[in-house]
Symmetry: C2
Subunit: 470 residues, 2 copies
């Protein structure tokens, strides 16, 4: 009896093997077909990635999976693998070398090591120092031996202080358990994506955007789907276009207002419009609001915290408001389930953030005047830079907030990467090339992390350099 | 002409769709077959996961992929997806509830909040404080405004200090560019795995082991393959068994000596044997040596740094040697290519570790006497605990290093989780249940992060509790 059954098991296993081989044969057939399609597209000058063809495929797969009783998520993941392999076998156009602000920063540092004084407008780091009470608190706690493991989300005391802060600041009702103290805003972005995206899922990214959004979406196995916004529209996202970008595979929208790099802040109507789309289409809204305190408009900052009806992750940081970049502390807020999921990831990857830094963060939350003062300084800098840019052959949006100006170079045939490199070489001014933020190759980003006079001198040199080009 | 070609494109695209649907149909057929196999296995009392059957499948797939001209990696990834979905549809045995040290820690904290004094031997955290020069250095740097972004790998000065330290300590030749300062040892483990493992890859984990190894392997999409070691063998890994565990899908071996939880350190012969197997089979050896400084044997610590011929990642930390757990600083060392890959991940996820903590770490590296003193204290504690354990109905390996003792309970019918909970409730002593470290349900782990007298009192209570059981 047992022997018969063993034979049965063996027979079934070899059948599984045969089916698996048959699947592979079909995959091979599919790939050679894809390679042909690639050649055909190339001969017609069409681009390799084709979201609309993919969407048709995905919708058909959804139906087929349903009919066959296969889990849809699994079918979509499988499809993603097939699509990715398909893209691999298709001929690729020569890649455009895109320099990021980090490349320019490295070049600037190399010059500095040679003793050259460079006007640094590349990296998005404020020049403010942490308030001295923050430093002293960190020291006192460290001295008292508060350098032990804490719970992964961070100490209750800090999370309650953050909940109280967002209540006071935005009238948002949040429980301490919904809050996680993270390694800066960056790790918050990662936690939000890692807890939302499975391989093959799509995430809408509103361009121009901080390059890490797209790399991080790819890193967790997802596919960034770009919604482009335009200077001509005042960088306002078009909600109809947004709706069109959403497919069966979309899981989230990332937004970042006030925006890096454009300085755009959304009005309430558009903000609410995006919230409603996310809610309708059952997406998670990942809202990176690290620049909430750099607000120059006088009107209220719009925060996702005021829309608890949508599935959201708020990302915030102590880096910008209080000049605490190198403390590496930020926070995320979401519904409790997702917060617990993110905390489990944080626990596995980094255990927790340093204990005494958690106390330093509590202290920072009390420094409201400092945050206000820093915001005012940024506003003045933005004002001065915009004024200095006026006579130059550039077009730009006057920032509502954040710490950047993102001008378009109105000189024909200039590429942002080339511009940034030559500007650095000829005028010792470093800016971030626009191509790093999306399809904005004739733009550049100026960071306002320097005293006003330095920035104005930088703009003057940019003007001189531009005049040699036109 | 263009119209004809468009038709051709459409025709080819619908063929791709048909093939994709056919693949899905085969997947559905495969799954129903798998469900049947599952029922058959259940009726025969066989376990669902079957590594040897999987290995046969994988080897056949490798051949088939080669014959079809499909990338092997892709074929294996696809196979992994199919296997995982297959496991999902098979009936599962009821899951054994395994408590970890974190569960016990939470229960202990709840008791403490009620005012109960608990002898805490659950969490692996030394009670030592960071040397005061470390605290002062962090403060001075913080005050001087050294709280800015640094390069992702960490400041050159720290990485050079680490390279000098491993030269002095282990006579290991390492360049500063091979070193990355990480968020503690934990993030080092993640970076090592994330840069080595693709979905579907296998990683050998030597049990009993720190639970995060297995969870982190799974988190990056890999499958932990366990090599069990036994108390009867003095926790010595069997190299023949190790060789047998390696398949075409294996990418790495994780080892951790001195070991958490057993306290085992490897002799040179076995250490070298593992290095040679990794080298022969082209695997990466991930060596977690965070307990290198807690060495009670008098003989040299064996480090992977002395075997640059093998692909390796060394993981180390400042947490244990200098009592700096809550500073969250550690380091990894590997070949330059992998170091760059890991640095790119660190850059995207956390930017860098706090700048002033990097300076604190430089200071710690100079505190050699402190590290030695801490090691000596741990040795004395291990000695005292082992002596106190002698008369008890337990068997254990006398630790060569690390900060744990891992006894087996020689009382019939006792489960480690139940034991830990009842010990805590009845005697207010918290230990980590053995099941958290692998298939060691009648073991428990005692952490030596308390003064000797406290630990000995803890063992006394354990003895009293055990005497009520036998």
């Amino acid at each position: 009896m047992s022997c018969v059954k063993d034979n049965e098991l063996d027979r079934m296993r070899s059948e599984v093997l045969e089916i698996t081989k048959e699947i592979l044969r079909l995959v091979a057939k599919r790939q050679s077909l894809c390679a042909e399609i690639g050649k055909l597209k190339q001969s017609k000058g069409l681009s390799i990635e084709d979201p609309s063809a993919e969407r048709i495929l995905r919708e058909a797969i959804t139906k087929e999976a349903l009919a066959l009783g296969i889990e849809e998520d699994f079918a979509q993941r499988l499809t993603t693998q097939l699509i990715e392999e398909c893209i691999k076998v298709q001929p690729k156009p020569p890649e455009k070398k895109v320099l990021t602000h980090r490349d320019i920063a490295r070049m600037a540092e190399a010059l500095e090591r040679q003793g050259v004084r460079v006007i640094r407008m590349d990296v998005g780091e404020p020049d403010f120092r942490a308030p001295s009470v923050v430093v002293e608190r960190a020291y006192q706690e460290m001295k008292a031996g508060r350098s032990r493991y804490t719970e992964p989300k961070g100490k209750q005391e800090l999370r309650q202080a953050i909940a109280d802060y967002v209540k006071m600041r935005f009238d948002a009702d949040v429980k301490a358990d919904q809050v996680i103290a993270t390694m800066g805003g960056a790790f918050g972005v990662y936690l939000a994506l890692a807890s939302t995206v499975s391989p093959g899922d799509e995430v809408i990214v509103i361009d121009p955007s901080w390059p890490i959004y797209k790399s991080c979406v790819r890193y967790v196995g997802g596919r960034p789907i770009v919604l482009e916004t335009r200077l001509e529209d005042g960088w306002e996202p078009n909600l109809d276009e947004l709706n069109e970008k959403i497919s069966a595979a979309t899981k989230a929208i990332i937004m970042n207002y006030p925006s890096n790099p454009t300085g755009k802040a959304l009005g309430k109507k558009t903000f609410k419009g995006i919230v409603e789309i996310a809610q309708d289409r059952k997406l998670t809204l990942i809202s990176d609001e690290v620049y909430a305190d750099y607000n120059f408009t006088g009107s209220e900052h719009n925060t996702v915290l005021n829309y608890p009806e949508v599935s959201y992750v708020l990302i915030s940081s102590f880096s910008k408001s209080w000049g605490m970049t190198g403390f590496r502390v930020g926070f995320v807020i979401s519904d409790l389930d997702r917060a617990n999921k993110m905390a489990a990831i944080q626990s596995m990857l980094i255990t927790c953030i340093p204990e005494f830094i958690q106390y330093a963060a509590i202290e920072a939350l009390k420094c409201l005047d400092e945050a206000k003062k820093n915001s005012e300084v940024m506003r003045e800098r933005a004002e001065a830079v915009c004024k200095a840019l006026e006579p130059l052959p550039v077009s730009f949006y006057k920032p509502d907030g954040a710490m950047y100006v993102f001008p378009r170079i109105d000189v024909k045939g200039i590429d942002g990467s080339e511009f940034a490199v030559k500007l650095l070489e000829n005028k010792n001014v470093s800016v971030a090339p626009g191509g790093a933020f999306g399809n904005y190759f004739n733009y550049f980003r100026m960071s306002l992390g320097q005293p006003k006079e330095v920035l104005v001198e930088g703009v003057k040199r940019i003007g001189e350099f531009l005049s040699t080009l036109s």
